[in-house]
Amino acid sequence: MGHELRIAVVCASNMNRSMEAHSFLSKQGYKVKSYGTGDKVKLPGPSIDKPNVYEFGTPYDKIYKDLKSKDPNMYTQNGLLNMLDRNRRLKDHPEKFQLTEDEFDVIFTVEERVFDHVVEFMESREKKGCTPVHVINIDVEDNHEEATIGAFLIRDLVDLMASCDDLDNDIDDLLQDFESTCKRSILHCVQFY
């Protein structure tokens, strides 16, 4: 089944971590989508109490331009513009997970809060059938470097999964093995559409 895996990567704002993985995985040829679970898209601002906040659905391009107009120097320095530039070339706008109708085989989350949101949403939505989906959480810190590392980890795990003929059967062992190699704790659960 290999590249047939339908993958979702979910973070809070669908900006850094999910997009880094999205970019990386799609370069590897995987069918991947990315989402955020937060209420709003939040980006660092001039100070910690003054973040830049946008609605989901605001195009990356628009955000890019907005930030560039605000303080091109600072946002170039902290890499936000660079990131947004990458994002706008991948897709149009940040997407909210709770709004999607798409079905996946594997959903990656990058922190426990996001995992909880995903599970909560999956639980609460109307069940159509019995198609299972694996929700997997790997904690990734929200900065550029960690996002890259996280993307690598997710890529490794996806590679493992893609090489699996019968994912449902092997996922337990697979995750345990992966956990011991990457030395990060992984949350995993199975949900149904």
Binding site: C130, T131, D170, D172, I186
Partner: protein
Amino acid sequence: MSDLETENRVTELLNQTGLVHEGPKRIKIIAELKELLLHRAPDLFLKYSEEILAFQNDPAPDVRKMALGFFEEACQKKESFLRMVVPALQNIIFNDENPNVLKKAMQVACGLFKNGLKWVSTALPEEMKDAVGAWETLSTLRDYLVKQIDSDNDGIRTHAIKFMEAVILTLTHSPDGKAKASEICLDIVPLNLRAVRPRKLEEDAKRILESLLKFHSSLHISSVNLMATMAALTNIAKMRPVFLSTVVLAMQGLNSHLPPTLGKSQVSSVRKMMKVHMMALLKLPAAMDHITAITALLNELGATYQEIMKNHPNPEEIKQAARRKKDEGRKRPRPMDLDVVPSLDLDAAERKKRPKRDDLEVVGPKALPLIGETAVPKSGDLTKSAEEYISLRLRPDFVFKTTRFSTLQKIPDVGLDPDFPRLASNGLIRGISRLLGNQLVKDSVFPCDKVAIERRRREMKKAEEKRKLELAKEKREKVRQEVPKLAAKPVDAVVDDSTAEGLKSVAEKSAVAVKSTVAPISLAQKQKRLTNERLTEKSKPMSMSIVLKVKASALSRISSVGDETGIAIRSESRKESMRSAQSEVMAGLSSLMPIEDVLGWVVSFFLTDPVRRVDHVIAWLYSEYSQGQSYSPVSASALRPLTSNDTAEMDRKRYGTILTWILKAIAEKDEFPEKYDVIRRLFLETPSLTDEAVAMLSMMFPADEEQAEPQVIDNEADDQSPEIPRVKRVTRMCELLCDMILYRRGTGKHTTCLRMLLDLATHPTPTIRQEGLSAVMRLVSHSDDAFAAAIGEFAVMSINALVMPGAIDGGVKNEPQDEVPEEEEGGDKKPAFVNWSEDSVKSACGLLFVLLPRKTSYLFDLMRVFAETSPEVKRIILRLMEEPIKELDGNSDEVMAVLDNIPKGGETFVSRMILLLTEKAQPSEQLVYKVLDLYKTRVTDVRFLIPVVSGLPESELMEILPKFLRLAPNVLKEVFNRVLGVATLERPEEHNPSITPADLMVALHTIPPSAADVKSIIKATALCFEMKAVYTMEVMGEVIKKLVDLDEIPTLLMRTVIQAFSLYPKLSGHVLNALQHLIQKEVWKNPRVWEGFIKCCQRCGAPSCVVLMQLQAEQLKSVFKQAPDLKDYMSRHVDSFTENNAFVPEPVLEALFGQKTPRSLDRREPPPPGAMEAEAFAMHPATLMNMRPPIYAGQGLFDPYRG
């Protein structure tokens, strides 16, 4: 697009599917077909159904999956399609092997099942038959799929869980019958429908729920499935609040007993999901009854107060719900609860105890009320007393027994504590009694009579107190004795009893003990269970053949570790420990495999390097043995695959078979230097020997077989074989047998070994026999009397054979292992006898002879046999007995006893025995008299006395002496030797003969002619003379003196004298003296002596003249007549006389010189030459000795006597 166009397109697409073979393209086509047939022109589906359904057999799994989706959607469009689709689905489910397709099919089945129910409920009469058919097929499928919960594939299990959830939801009524319009459940089934019986379906649903719960609480569940099950249960609880309590119970049970197989992060995932699910449950209005339980659980899962409050139902709602509850109190009875409780009993018991433990630990906020208490409507005392009533009547062991099965499944496979049933049942009883109590009260079964209740309660209280006291007593002992053990168990219900203050302190103590020990133990146990369960989970689903293959390959890998090819391990101790671990693992592993698989492998493994691998093999045998005796905690036969002939009987024999095979293998292996060391170890170190194994001993030493061929007994040539000399092998075998007898006592096998050894000891081949005998001796000297007795018995039996006419022809040789080859078999087989040869007699007697010095009483047996057997055998025995008899103590009581009880025919034996006994030592006085007595009473043969002759008193000896003279010279010589103690004695100085040599000689001479003829006496004296060491010159001088002094002159006197003189010429003085004495005794009166006298004088020559001078003329004449030469001496002698001293009587002169002698005229003639000498001699007789006798040096003298 018109219908026609659509149809054209459909046919075109269908045609394309025949041409396009790439999966993805076909999927595209099918997707388009689906679109067309389901959405554009649904009517066409029926027309092209056959083609569509044919996709179910498509080679590409993805296409099959696609087709399944197609079918499902079709059925959702129109239920009647089920008629075609269900068989297709069934086909896939039963026949498809791709797990992904199967999973898809299971998903589809969820939907179709619902559709099926809908169809069968709403079908028009004309469709009814099809609908019912489809439904029945679906029901079959349902049962099949439910069983997939035990599938090998984790993913399929997940889908099975989901399927079960769907089925349960479908086959139950919605709460209050208010199902949503879209929901398909039992509500839609009309009550009058015959084909579907809603009540039965509901039962089925409950059953399925039960198996789902069972799966939920199983220990080997994977985290994915656990979460899926939790989700399914939560969903069920949400949709069917009637099951809520069951689900909450299950969740609580799970929380307290998480599967040990879960990893750390899996545990956190599971707990997280549980929290999510419990939160979801908390929101339900129906959760009202369980709010405390759920809150407690959430607390334990780490939910904050705020989180809980957020999801807490509105207090207003709670009140409403309570009100509603009161109104519908009757709705409470839930058969489900009762059904489920047994399967959850352990959890229930645990759960009920947990709060209490918390109480004791004073943890504070965690202290919770018992769950379910709020669930019970407050019917007051009545319910309580009903509960009490029931709980008093439920005996722990009964409860435990009835619920044991489900309980045991959850207990890790550690040994059950004997107290476990009681402890486990305590919580259980409460749960059951509470449920039953509720039920009784609600159904008004429980008596409501207040007085009766009061009375009963008093009784109960009494009983309860009594019981508690007992429990407390037990408890105290427990605490004192085995606090750690207690720690592993749930705290007893007695602990929180407040009525008995004393008990409480005890309980607290125990609780403290529990607290201090419970954590490490449970952790350790968990760890242990973790690995255990892992293994079982992993290996369980494998097919037997794979398991075996894996085991075999594991075995060979492990076995190759020790080979030097692998890692070089320097430290010797590490090598050692590795080797022992290796053999342990291998032993364990191979004992778990069916014998036919492992045997060949182990044997070849062993044979490639027997010396080093014998350790492994022994370890393996031990493992097999302990399995066979069911010593080991895990029964191997349970783990071993059952083959058709692998019965319990086989199992028991397994050890024996293996042992036999191994022994056979090593026995058949070519010779190598350590072969017999290996064999020895196998025989001595294996846990137990079977009869076959012992019998194989003979095979082990093929040498024995070779010579078992009835051929030559002399095997000198064989011994020079290029390999190990056979004798050496026999030596090894004897050693081994010996050790086996000594170290394997009490197994019953040592007797067999002993018999084998004894057979060797009586083996016809001398070399083997010798080995056998020395081994027997070693054994006898090592061990106590038990063996000695057995050996002796055998030895006696063995010699008993000698009574038979001959040795059994080939009896020993052909069957070396036969028990007692000669005698026991002899009677039965009527064997052909061959004459006893020295060797066969030797082989029969050898053992006894060896034993004889240790136990003299075997003499009796030997003697008895001797008496009865043939002369030939007698002869051989007499010859053979020399050695053993010589070692006996001649003075022992047994010997004396033997002498007292000589059987008829045993005399020879006895005399030989006595002879041998006295050869080296002086016979004791006792012996002498015994023998003498025997001689006088029974044995007339004088030879009988020979052995003791040296001890005979002189008088007896004198009496018997003549009889000895009749014996052959060599015997006689022996007699003399013994009498005189010559040459036979090691310490002659101790010899104290009753008679001196001189006396003996004298005695010989004094034997009256009536007793013995002269000739024999001459011979005897001759023998004496031969013993020059004894009869020295001095002795002879003494003899001569004694003889002459005798009153009566013995006939042989002169003969002896002459002989002595010729031997010892220096005796001449004695001789002359003797002659002189004889003259005084008028020797001439005895013609024979006179003759000797003259001869003696002749030998003496000139010196005898002095003696002769004393004779009368008459005698002198006779002398001269016989010996003219003496005349010359005499005349010369007389001539030499001077006038003064010469006084020669006339007759003498006359005899000397005739009638007229010149002597008479002139006496003063000069003496003849030599007269001076004669004179000197006369004056100094002693100087005569230096004279050489001039004549009679020859032998002529005694000739007349020789005749």
